[in-house]
C-alpha cells in the first residue's frame, strides 16, 4: 500500500479513537515518551495492558460467578483495572470501572453483572481497534515512513 495512504489511514484510525472516547489525552502523553531510543514503547505498554486487563477481567468473571460474591475482592480487581486503563488513556474502560466500583460498594449484584458485560465489550473493542492501529503503524515503519502524531 502507498505510504501516504497508510499514514492517512493511521491518522483517521487514531482520530476516530479519540472522537469515540475510546482514547484520551493520556495516550498522546504515552506517544510522546516514544522516540528513536525507545521505538516500541507504546506498543509494549499497550501489550502489557492487554495481558493484565485480560487476566483481571477473567478473574472478575469467575469471582462474580461464585455462590458467595466477595465484593471487596472484586472491587480490588476493578480498582487495579481502573488505574491501569487510566494510565494508558483507555477512557471508556476507565469510566466503566468507575461505575463498577460504585456497584461493588453498594453490593449490587445486578449492577456488577451489567458492568461486567460492558467491561467485556469495551475491552474487546479497545483491543481490536488498537491491534488494527498497531498493524498499520508496523506497515508504515516497514515502508520507511514516520508515524503521524495527533496534535
Amino acid at each position: 500500500m502507498d505510504l501516504s495512504l497508510l499514514q492517512r489511514t493511521y491518522s483517521d484510525l487514531l482520530s476516530s479513537l479519540f472522537t469515540e472516547g475510546i482514547l484520551n489525552q493520556q495516550f498522546t502523553e504515552l506517544q510522546q515518551l516514544q522516540d528513536e531510543n525507545n521505538p516500541g514503547f507504546v506498543y509494549e505498554v499497550v501489550s502489557l495492558f492487554f495481558d493484565d486487563a485480560g487476566r483481571l477481567i477473567n478473574e472478575l468473571g469467575s469471582n462474580l460467578n461464585q455462590q458467595v460474591v466477595d465484593y471487596k475482592k472484586i472491587d480490588a480487581h476493578v480498582h487495579q483495572l481502573k488505574g491501569s486503563s487510566a494510565s494508558i488513556g483507555a477512557q471508556r474502560i476507565r469510566n466503566v470501572c468507575q461505575g463498577f466500583r460504585d456497584y461493588c460498594e453498594a453490593n449490587d449484584p445486578q449492577g456488577c453483572f451489567s458492568c461486567m458485560q460492558q467491561l467485556n465489550q469495551e475491552f474487546l473493542t479497545f483491543k481490536s481497534k488498537l491491534e488494527t492501529l498497531f498493524k498499520v503503524e508496523q506497515q508504515i515503519v516497514a515502508s520507511g515512513g514516520s508515524v503521524p502524531m495527533i496534535q
Binding site: 515518551l33 525507545n38 488505574g83 487510566a86
Partner: protein, 230 residues
C-alpha cells in the same frame, strides 16, 4: 581538618547526585512501572537511574530494611544507594504508606525522600502521608512536570540540611566531629606528659610507706610537744 573532609564528602555526594539520581519505583502494576520508567528516562536525559520493584516487601529488601538476624552487621549496614523513592499507595500486603513509615523509622546516613503516587484523590490519605514525612503526593497518571519535582526533592535532601527531619542526626554527627576535634587537639599535649612521666627515673612506690611513717612520726612529735608545754 576532619570537618573539611566531611564537607568535601557532602560536596561529593551532591556532585554524584548531579551525575545521576537513583530512583526506586515501587508499584504492583507492570503498566504503571513501565510508564513511570519511560517518563523518567525520556524527561531526564539519562539523569535518572531507575530501579523498579513490584512490591513494598521487595523495596524493603532492596533498602535492607528486612535485616535477617543471621546477616552480618557489615552487610546489613552497607550504604543504600537510593536517592529517592517513588511508591504507589495502593498495593497488596504492604501499602506505600507502610513503606513510607518503615523508611522514615530508619536512621539512614542521609534522608531518602519518599513520594507517594495514587490514582485516588483522597484528602485524608494525602494529609496522612504528608504528616508522616512524605515529600509529596502525586496523582496518577504521572506527568512530565512531576519529573522535575522529583529532581528537586532529591537535590534538597542531598544538600546540608537546614532544620528538617534529617537535621538532628546531622547535628549530632557534627557535634561528635567537633568533640573529636577537641580531643585530637589535646592529644599531643597529653601524650607529651605521659612520655615525660614514663621517661622519669624517679620510682616513687618503694618510698611511699617510709614517707608515710616519717609524716606520722613528725605529727606525733608535734602533738607531744604541745602536751609537754601545757
Amino acid at each position: 581538618m576532619e570537618l573539611e573532609l566531611e564537607l568535601e564528602k557532602e560536596k561529593g555526594a551532591e556532585m554524584e547526585m548531579e551525575m545521576g539520581m537513583r530512583v526506586l519505583v515501587v508499584d504492583d502494576s507492570p503498566i504503571d512501572r513501565k510508564i513511570v520508567e519511560g517518563l523518567l528516562k525520556r524527561n531526564g536525559n539519562g539523569f535518572f537511574k531507575v530501579i523498579a520493584v513490584d512490591s513494598g516487601v521487595k523495596a524493603m529488601e532492596l533498602l535492607r530494611l528486612n535485616k535477617q538476624k543471621s546477616e552480618p552487621e557489615s552487610l546489613a549496614s552497607k550504604e543504600i544507594n537510593i536517592d529517592i523513592i517513588l511508591t504507589d499507595y495502593c498495593m497488596p500486603d504492604m501499602t506505600g504508606y507502610d513503606l513510607l513509615r518503615a523508611v522514615k523509622e530508619q536512621n539512614f546516613s542521609r534522608t531518602i525522600p519518599v513520594v507517594i503516587m495514587s490514582s485516588e484523590n483522597e484528602p485524608q490519605r494525602i494529609s496522612r502521608c504528608k504528616a508522616d514525612g512524605a515529600e509529596d503526593f502525586i496523582l496518577k497518571p504521572l506527568q512530565t512536570n512531576d519529573v522535575q519535582k522529583l529532581r528537586n526533592y532529591a537535590n534538597r535532601s542531598a544538600k546540608p540540611s537546614k532544620l528538617k527531619s534529617g537535621t538532628k542526626r546531622k547535628m549530632t554527627s557534627q557535634l561528635e566531629l567537633a568533640s573529636a576535634m577537641n580531643i585530637t587537639e589535646w592529644k599531643p599535649h597529653l601524650s607529651r606528659v605521659v612520655m615525660v612521666l614514663k621517661s622519669s627515673r624517679l620510682d616513687i612506690s618503694p618510698y611511699f610507706p617510709v614517707a608515710c611513717k616519717v609524716v606520722l612520726l613528725f605529727y606525733a612529735m608535734l602533738c607531744l610537744n604541745q602536751l609537754l608545754h601545757r
